[in-house]
């Protein structure tokens, strides 16, 4: 049940974030960002941070995004168009960074206990004998993570 809620909210948040980045018109991006903030507030609620979720809705979606909408409607920006060369350059850079980020994320996912051991200094409780070895590889993952960040 928790997984259904989490995956639903996460899908909504990621889709809304993609809409923010990909739309030509700024007003559509702002409205999608409001949806994204709502989904993320739901995720905060699920992480047992109820106060932060309420603050997120009130401050972010209620104040900051209203400010954004006012400015967008005041300035009336024209819809953006990129030249084909610029679009190709942006695509190449985005794919490179995306591949690197995907690599780091896969490493963190499949060496989760090693990463957590390296980050927090607690060896995996199920295997105390090889905990030290896990910590060694965990710090390597940590160094890669910090380089990516």
């Amino acid at each position: 049940m928790e997984y259904i809620v989490f995956y639903g909210l996460a899908t909504v948040a990621v889709t809304a974030a993609l809409v923010v980045v990909l739309m030509n018109r700024a007003i559509y991006s702002a409205l999608a960002l409001i949806v994204c903030f709502g989904a993320v507030a739901g995720l905060f609620f699920q992480l047992e941070a109820q106060f932060v979720a309420a603050v997120q809705v009130i401050v972010y979606a209620g104040a900051i995004m209203v400010l954004f909408l006012f400015v967008i409607m005041l300035l009336d920006p024209q819809s953006e168009k990129f030249s084909p060369d610029r679009l190709k350059l942006i695509t190449v850079i985005a794919l490179t960074f995306g591949a690197f980020l995907a690599f780091v994320l896969v490493q963190v996912t499949f060496q989760w206990s090693a990463t957590m051991g390296g980050l927090f200094g607690r060896p995996d409780r199920r295997s105390p004998a090889i905990g030290r070895e896990h910590q060694g590889s965990g710090s390597f993952t940590l160094s890669r993570l910090s380089a990516a960040l």
Binding site: C36, F44, A63, I64, L74, L75, F120
Partner: protein, 70 residues
């Protein structure tokens, strides 16, 4: 572009809250409140700058509003 900054700050907030729950500490949530305050202030200042830029340069494109020598 300013909306992407808000997205990134939200991602950071999510990470902080995840770790706060993972470690059963409250420090992450306190820091998230700090980050939200900073994000709100920075969004207000940035939007004010954008309004002034559009009035002075009649364009929102920062490449065209460049008055540097080179």
């Amino acid at each position: 572009m300013f909306m992407c900054i808000e997205l990134m700050l939200n991602a950071v907030n999510l990470t902080f809250l995840t770790f706060s729950r993972f470690l059963n500490q409250l420090d992450g949530q306190i820091f998230v409140l700090f980050v939200m305050t900073v994000a709100a202030a920075e969004a207000a200042v940035g939007l004010a700058l954008i309004v002034i830029l559009s009035r002075r340069a009649d364009t929102l494109d920062v490449d065209q509003a460049n008055t540097m020598k080179w």
